[in-house]
C-alpha cells in the first residue's frame, strides 16, 4: 500500500516534470542587439532570398544579430497562426513578414503594428519607390510596412510546343479575352488541357485578372473602395468570361495546388496557365529556357497594368528592440538589400535604384512593366482586400467552382463587398 502510494506519487511527479521540461514553447523575442525576423520563408528560393538579405544586413550592421524566426509552409498560413497567438500573448517578434496592403488591416485595427510613414519621410523612401506603389501601400493616410520584393500576378505562362501542335502561334499576344478564347479552343481540340489551374485560391487569382481585364484599371481599383458596384452589368460580363475560362480547365483542380498546375504546362500537358511570377522559379529550377521552353505575356486585356503583390516587413507594437528593427527595415529598403534578395528569390525590387542588370530575362520584362505601367493591387495575395473579405470571396468562388451559377457568384461577391466596405 505504501509502495503503491509512492508509485502513484512518482507517476504524478514524472508527468509534471515532463510538462515543465516541454514548457517554454513560444518565441523568445529579441534581446539586446538582436532582431528576430519572423517569416514563412523556410524553404526553396524564398529561403535563398532571405539568406541573401541577411548577408547584406550583417554587412551593414556588424553589431546587430539576426535571429531567424521562420515558420515553414502553407504559403504562410502556419506562420500566420503562430504569429496570431504570439501577438495575442504580447510576445511580438522583432519584425514580421506580411503582404503589403489591405492584409495589414487586421493588424492595424488590433494595434499590432506601428505606422511608419515618418520613417518613409526621414529616410527618403518616398523617392525610392514608385508613386503607384506608394498609393497602393497607403492605408487611410499611413504606410505600415516596407516592401522587400514585388511580384506580378497577371501573367500567363505558356508552352510553345503545345501551342504549335495546336496550330496556335506561340508569339501571339491577345488584346482581349475573346481573342484568347479562340486560341484556347484550338488547344482543347488538340487534346491538351487549354488552361491549367489548381484549387480555390488559384481560382480567385484567375478571377482577379479577369476582373482587371474586363473592367480596366480604374474600375478594378474601384471595387475595393466602393466606387465600383459589384452588382453592375460590367461585373456580370466579367464573371461570365471567368465562367467560360473555368470551362477550359482541368477537372481535378480541387486536388491540386499551384505548382501542380504550373507543372502541367512544363510537362506539355497544358497550353496556358495564369499565375504570379513566382512560377518563374519552377521553370528555372527545371532548367527551362525563357523564350524556347516557355513564354509569358500579361493576361489578355491587362497589358499596361502591373497587378502587384509584395512581401513586406513591419514594425510591431512593443517590438523588443525597435532600434534593431529599424536597422532591419533599412536593409530591406536599401538598394543592396533589394538586389540581393530579389535576385535569389526571383521577384523584382521595389526600390527603383536597385541594380537589376543581371536579373533573368523574365524579370527584366517585369521590371520594365513595373516602372512604366499602372499599378493595381492583387486580391488573392492580400494587397486589395482584408483577410476576412478575401475569405468570403474565396468561399463564393469555391461554391461557383462546383455549381457554375454565375448569378449566385455575383450575389456572393456583392454581399461580401457590402459586409466589408462598411467597416
Amino acid at each position: 500500500m505504501r509502495i503503491t502510494r509512492r508509485v502513484g506519487a512518482a507517476l504524478v511527479a514524472t508527468a509534471l516534470l515532463s510538462v515543465a521540461a516541454c514548457g517554454g514553447g513560444g518565441g523568445s523575442g529579441s534581446g539586446e542587439g538582436e532582431v528576430e525576423v519572423f517569416t514563412w520563408w523556410a524553404e526553396g528560393s524564398e529561403k535563398e532570398g532571405l539568406d541573401a538579405l541577411v548577408g547584406v544586413f550583417e554587412e551593414q550592421n556588424p553589431d546587430l544579430e539576426f535571429v531567424n524566426g521562420a515558420v515553414a509552409g502553407g504559403a504562410g498560413s502556419e506562420a500566420k497562426n503562430v504569429l496570431a497567438s504570439r501577438l495575442q500573448t504580447n510576445d511580438p517578434p522583432g519584425t514580421f513578414q506580411a503582404h503589403a496592403g489591405a492584409e495589414l488591416t487586421d493588424y492595424i485595427v488590433q494595434d499590432d503594428i506601428e505606422p511608419i510613414s515618418d520613417m518613409y519621410e526621414e529616410k527618403g523612401w518616398n523617392e525610392l519607390f514608385p508613386e503607384g506603389l506608394l498609393e497602393q501601400l497607403d492605408q487611410d493616410g499611413e504606410i505600415y510596412s516596407v516592401p522587400s520584393n514585388i511580384h506580378r500576378a497577371n501573367v500567363v505562362w505558356a508552352n510553345p510546343a503545345v501551342l504549335q501542335k495546336a496550330g496556335v502561334d506561340p508569339e501571339a499576344t491577345y488584346a482581349s479575352l475573346d481573342e484568347w478564347f479562340a486560341a484556347l479552343d484550338k488547344v482543347e481540340a488538340s487534346g491538351a488541357i487549354p488552361l491549367s489551374i489548381a484549387t480555390d485560391w488559384t481560382q480567385v487569382h484567375l478571377l482577379e485578372t479577369v476582373l482587371l481585364a474586363d473592367l480596366g484599371e480604374e474600375a478594378y481599383n474601384g471595387l475595393w473602395d466602393g466606387s465600383t458596384d459589384w452588382g453592375s452589368a460590367e461585373v456580370t460580363a466579367a464573371l461570365e468570361d471567368y465562367a467560360k475560362l473555368l470551362e477550359y480547365t482541368n477537372s481535378d483542380r480541387q486536388s491540386l495546388d499551384w505548382p501542380d498546375a504550373t507543372q502541367l504546362v512544363i510537362d506539355g500537358k497544358a497550353g496556358f496557365n495564369v499565375m504570379g511570377d513566382w512560377a518563374e522559379a519552377a521553370f528555372a529550377t527545371q532548367d527551362k529556357e525563357f523564350g524556347t521552353d516557355y513564354v509569358t505575356f500579361p493576361v489578355p486585356g491587362t497589358d499596361g497594368v502591373f497587378d502587384f503583390l509584395a512581401d513586406s516587413f513591419t514594425m510591431p507594437v512593443g517590438a523588443p528592440n525597435p532600434g534593431a528593427t529599424e536597422a532591419w527595415l533599412d536593409t530591406v529598403a536599401s538598394a543592396e538589400g533589394q538586389t540581393a534578395f530579389n535576385k535569389a528569390k526571383g521577384s523584382i525590387p521595389a526600390n527603383t535604384e536597385a541594380d537589376t542588370s543581371d536579373f533573368g530575362p523574365y524579370q527584366q520584362t517585369a521590371i520594365e512593366s513595373f516602372q512604366q505601367d499602372a499599378i493595381v493591387s492583387s486580391l488573392a495575395h492580400g494587397a486589395a482586400a482584408s483577410v476576412s473579405w478575401l475569405t468570403d470571396i474565396t468561399a463564393a468562388v469555391s461554391k461557383f467552382g462546383s455549381t457554375g451559377d454565375v448569378a449566385g457568384l455575383q450575389e456572393g461577391l456583392v454581399s461580401a463587398a457590402e459586409q466589408h466596405l462598411e467597416s
Binding site: 487586421d106 480555390d200 468561399a395
Partner: protein
C-alpha cells in the same frame, strides 16, 4: 451526520478534482461559449455588446451553412448505413466459426488504429478526381478494369461529394462495429439457440427471432457511437478536401474558417449549433442509461 461525512467524505474528495475539471472545462466553457455566441465579437478584440440571436439568424440564413448541415446529415446517414451493414455482415460471417477467424478479425479491425489524417492521405490519393487518361487512384483502377463509366469526380461532385468522404470513414470503423456485433452474437446464450432449434425453428428463423433481437442493444450502442463521431467529422475532410472546398463543407469546417479569420462570435455560434445537434442524439441515450443505472 458525522457517520455520513465519514462514509461519503473520502469518495467525494477523491472524485472532486474530476468534478471540478469537468465542471469547468465542459460545462463552464460551454456556458462561456454560448455567451460569446450572443455577442458581437467579430474580431480578436473583446466584444462590445450583446446582439441576442443575431449570429444564429445569420447562420441559418446563410446558404453555405445550411448546405453544410445537409452535408452532415447525408454523411451521417451514409456512414451509419455503411458501417452497420459491413460490421454486421462481417460479424455474421465470422460468428459461426471460420478458419483463420483471428486473421480476418485482425485485418478488418486494423484501420481503426490509424488516424483520420493518415487515412486521409491515402484516401485522398484513391479519391483523386481526374478522369480519363490522367486518372489516378480508384478512377484509374476502374478504368483498367474496363469500368470507365463508373469513374466519377468523387468528393468534388456538386451534390453528392460528401458521400465520397463516407468511404474512408466506413473503411475505418466497420471493423469496430464488427467487433461489437461479434461480442453480441457470442453473448447470446447457447441455451436460447438450442431451445429454438428444439422447437423446430430453421436456422434462419432462429436467427431472426432469437439472435437478432438480442442484438438490439448492440445495434443501439453502435448507432450512438458512430452517430456522434460522424456529427463531428472534421479531420477526414481537412485531410482529403481541405478547408475551403465547397462540396465538402460541414459545420466543423465552417467553424474553423470563422475561427481563422477571428470571427469569434460566429465561430462560437457554430460550435453551439453542433453541440445541440449532438445533444439531440446523446441526451436521450444518457437519460436512459441513467435511469437504468438507478434502477439497479
Amino acid at each position: 451526520m458525522h457517520h455520513r461525512l465519514k462514509r461519503f467524505g473520502p469518495p467525494l474528495l477523491l472524485i472532486s478534482p474530476t468534478i471540478v475539471l469537468v465542471g469547468v472545462f465542459v460545462y463552464g466553457l460551454i456556458a462561456v461559449n454560448v455567451n460569446t455566441s450572443l455577442t458581437d465579437r467579430h474580431t480578436r478584440a473583446p466584444a462590445e455588446g450583446y446582439v441576442g440571436l443575431e449570429n444564429y439568424q445569420a447562420l441559418f440564413s446563410d446558404d453555405t451553412f445550411l448546405f453544410s448541415l445537409r452535408n452532415l446529415l447525408l454523411y451521417t446517414a451514409a456512414f451509419l448505413a455503411g458501417a452497420l451493414f459491413f460490421g454486421f455482415l462481417w460479424a455474421w460471417l465470422l460468428e459461426r466459426g471460420a478458419r483463420g477467424e483471428g486473421i480476418f478479425r485482425t485485418i478488418y479491425l486494423f484501420p481503426m488504429a490509424v488516424s483520420f489524417i493518415a487515412s486521409g492521405v491515402v484516401w485522398r490519393w484513391l479519391l483523386n478526381n481526374a478522369q480519363g487518361d490522367r486518372a489516378s487512384g480508384l478512377n484509374r483502377l476502374l478504368g483498367s478494369l474496363g469500368l470507365d463509366f463508373l469513374q466519377t469526380s468523387w468528393w468534388t461532385h456538386e451534390r453528392w461529394g460528401i458521400l465520397a468522404i463516407a468511404m474512408p470513414a466506413v473503411w475505418q470503423l466497420s471493423g469496430y462495429i464488427m467487433a461489437l456485433f461479434l461480442a453480441g452474437f457470442r453473448g447470446v446464450p447457447d441455451e436460447l439457440r438450442e431451445a429454438a432449434r428444439m422447437d423446430g425453428a430453421s436456422e434462419w428463423r432462429m436467427y431472426r427471432h432469437v439472435v437478432f433481437p438480442q442484438l438490439s442493444p448492440v445495434a443501439l450502442s453502435a448507432i450512438i457511437i458512430i452517430g456522434h463521431m460522424s456529427l463531428k467529422v472534421f479531420d477526414l475532410i481537412m485531410a482529403i478536401a481541405g478547408q475551403s472546398n465547397y462540396t465538402t463543407q460541414v459545420p466543423a469546417t465552417q467553424m474553423w474558417i470563422e475561427f481563422t479569420r477571428s470571427d469569434y462570435a460566429l465561430s462560437a455560434a457554430i460550435g453551439t449549433v453542433m453541440l445541440l445537434i449532438v445533444a439531440v442524439l446523446i441526451v436521450p441515450y444518457l437519460v436512459a442509461t441513467y435511469r437504468q443505472e438507478r434502477s439497479r
